[in-house]
């Protein structure tokens, strides 16, 4: 595991020179066919987010359908085990469908309905965003097609079945590495082909502008609640906020409302796979360099010729060679620090949370838990650490069983 020295410097993660840019990162690197659709989306989102009727509908459904606010939970047993700072969990695993993904899927689903788009497409890695999108589409009466890498279809079978039960069509993607990256490629191809009647609900803070901003905005409910709950329950802001980073939506959702609080350290945990030093990982912020994939300039795992490298992670949701452009800016500006936890560390974090707190986390989340336990041990008991418990682990039971040598 990497060591960390989080910066407390308060950078201004401004969308620098023009909308959709985070410092040099972001932008709109997409085929011309999609440019008018992005312009339409920018306008529609801008009007919607200033429309009290739209936000009221979102807030009501966030409360009654998703179950917000999710609790902020003091993990006293894990704290005792780590033997240092106080560890709290923001319980996004208790949100409807079992992960934070629904916050964004609901927002974009409502926007799609408002724009009169009745055909929804989405990509999914672990299946959590696919399930969230299928759920929202079922609730709103929208057609739903989910692209999923063939490899992920196999390792996340329960979520494939969930999506089908919810009325979605799951299309396995056989090209490339047959994981999340390829599912996004295929969703973009579908969108290029059916752009006139189709809304693409991207599941993370990635893609061309306005997606990184829009997804961040919908996920920022996590950080806003965490901030209020910290003040109400603890009487002060946390000293550190820790979250796992694949594309980075749960992390950006909990980080962003703290970005102007210089005392709050923001720490993102990437998937170290077999170990960052092996090259077999999914940690572009730790070991990549800036490049363009899926519509944005951001840190990217690529070879010397600019070809995107295949990633490796025990967790399908983090198995992605890119990352949201705002994270790249947080990294360069020093506002956040990014570390990596390997597969073995994540499994240890998974078991640790099961045994100490009676919570089975998603394997994605387990990366953050593993790092948080190590980090907490290095900090005094007076400090407060909030970990985004971004999802529940039911979907991962067969993966974990296989790794532990257990036959179900």
């Amino acid at each position: 595991m990497a060591t960390v020295s989080p910066s407390t410097r308060a950078a201004t993660p401004a969308e620098a020179t023009r909308p959709g840019r985070f410092g040099p990162y972001g932008g709109q690197f997409v085929p011309e066919t999609l440019m008018p659709a992005l312009a339409e989306l920018i306008d529609a989102y801008d009007v919607a987010r200033h429309d009290p009727a739209f936000t009221a509908t979102y807030d009501t459904l966030a409360r009654d359908f998703i179950g917000r606010p999710t609790p902020l939970y003091h993990a006293t047993k894990l704290t005792a085990r780590a033997g240092g700072a106080q560890v709290y969990f923001k319980r996004e695993d208790l949100a409807h469908t079992g992960a934070h993904k629904i916050n964004n899927a609901l927002g974009q689903g409502l926007l799609a309905r408002r724009m009169g788009k009745e055909r929804i497409i989405a990509e999914t890695g672990a299946g959590q965003h696919g399930v969230a999108t299928a759920t929202v589409c079922a609730m709103l009466g929208l057609e739903c097609i989910v692209y999923m890498g063939e490899q992920d279809v196999h390792r996340q079978a329960p979520n494939v079945f969930r999506m089908k039960l919810l009325g979605a069509e799951v299309r396995p993607v056989k090209s490339g590495s047959r994981t999340l990256k390829d599912a996004i490629n295929e969703a973009i191809r579908d969108w290029v082909t059916n752009v006139n009647d189709t809304f693409y609900i991207i599941g993370s803070v990635v893609g061309p502008h306005p997606y990184p901003t829009m997804v961040r905005d919908f996920q920022s409910v996590i950080g806003r609640e965490t901030r209020e709950q910290s003040l109400a329950q603890i009487g002060r802001l946390p000293d550190a906020v820790i979250a796992c980073v694949g594309g980075g939506s749960n992390a950006m959702g909990i980080f962003h409302p703290f970005h102007a609080d210089p005392s709050v350290r923001l720490i993102g945990v990437e998937a170290g796979g077999d170990g960052v030093s092996t090259g077999r990982h999914a940690a572009p912020l730790s070991a990549g360099r800036p490049g363009v994939l899926h519509g944005a300039l951001s840190y990217l795992m690529q070879d010397g010729d600019g070809q995107v490298i295949e990633t490796h992670s025990i967790s399908a949701g983090l198995d992605y060679p890119g990352v949201g452009p705002e994270h790249s800016w947080y990294k360069d500006s020093g506002r956040a620090t990014y570390v990596a936890v390997d597969d073995a560390g994540a499994l240890a974090g998974f078991e640790l949370l099961c045994q100490t707190e009676g919570i089975i986390p998603a394997l994605e989340t387990a990366h953050a838990i593993a790092y948080a336990a190590e980090y907490a041990a290095s900090r005094p008991s007076s400090e407060i650490i909030v970990v985004n418990c971004s999802g529940r682990g039911d979907k991962d039971l067969s993966t974990v069983a296989t790794r532990l040598g257990v036959t179900l």
Binding site: Q28, P31, P36, S175, N185, L293, G295, D305
Partner: protein, 275 residues
């Protein structure tokens, strides 16, 4: 905003101007660098030109070809397996030039391999190798100014795509940046052979025409002689790509030179109105 260099007459511009003066239509052919082997373009590019193609698009393979349909995706994937890279694409152009190929050679590359090499370095290397133009399918006009500047300095045409969805203000902005020709994407979709071209193509091309005097080349889906024939009089050039790869996939490699030459001839006849 990049204004067009005054009467910048590249090899691409000269070739298309010649056709326009003669009242004929130009043909743009395709090879994916590295498909089926690294060496194959050395014989297949001349075969396409012999058969009647005037300009050749050379596809630089990329791991994530998001604007391409299954045919070009497969070729790109196989090319990467063969070890094709941007550097090898540049080597291929050098070899073709040393073999005496004088036809315009145009790279089609996604943005990241170009960005990874560095825009300036790419421009210099491509110019020295003998590349005449560059098409970047995931680089819209808004993001392109730095690349245009680098390519302008070495006399390489930055070629832009327009789509049926492109509204008039964007057509104006793209036309202001465009060099060489305007690549008119025939349909709303990804690359790949189609049964028929869209019926509203004449209106769409007339719309684009009202914003530019540059030659208009139509691609995506153009795969049969009758498609090419239907573009006579409304387009300056027809671009045929996936259909060439389809032919190669369905025939043994040792017949590719002959296959592509005869396919090119059938398209040339269609372009010339010879039945």
């Amino acid at each position: 905003m990049n204004n067009q260099p005054a009467q910048h007459q590249s090899r691409i511009g000269a070739t298309l101007a010649r056709h326009r003066e003669a009242g004929t239509m130009a043909l743009v052919g395709w090879q994916t660098i590295g498909f089926p082997t690294i060496e194959s373009s050395r014989t297949l590019v001349p075969a396409l030109i012999d058969g009647g193609f005037d300009l050749i698009e050379l596809g630089v393979p990329f791991s994530d070809p998001q604007a391409d349909g299954t045919t070009i995706q497969r070729a790109s994937f196989e090319a990467l397996r063969q070890g094709a890279t941007l550097s090898i694409a540049l080597d291929t152009v050098r070899i073709l030039r040393s073999d005496g190929i004088t036809a315009p050679l145009i790279f089609m590359s996604y943005y990241n391999p170009i960005l990874s090499r560095g825009l300036e370095r790419f421009a210099i290397d491509a110019s020295e190798a003998g590349v005449d133009g560059l098409i970047v399918p995931d680089l819209p006009a808004e993001e392109s100014d730095a690349l245009i500047d680098a390519l302008d300095r070495v006399g390489i045409d930055t070629i832009f795509l327009v789509a049926p969805t492109t509204p008039q203000p964007r057509l104006r902005a793209i036309a202001a940046r465009a060099r060489g020709f305007i690549y008119c994407v025939s349909l709303t979709g990804v690359t790949g052979a189609r049964q028929a071209l869209p019926s509203d193509l004449p209106e769409y091309l007339a719309r684009v025409r009202s914003f530019t005097n540059l030659p208009l080349a139509v691609g995506f889906g153009v795969s049969r002689p009758e498609h090419v024939a239907s573009l006579r009089g409304i387009a300056d050039a027809a671009i045929v790509a996936s259909a060439i790869i389809d032919r190669m996939e369905h025939t043994p490699p040792e017949t590719h030179v002959q296959e592509l030459r005869s396919f090119a001839k059938s398209l040339r006849n269609a372009a010339d109105g010879v039945s």
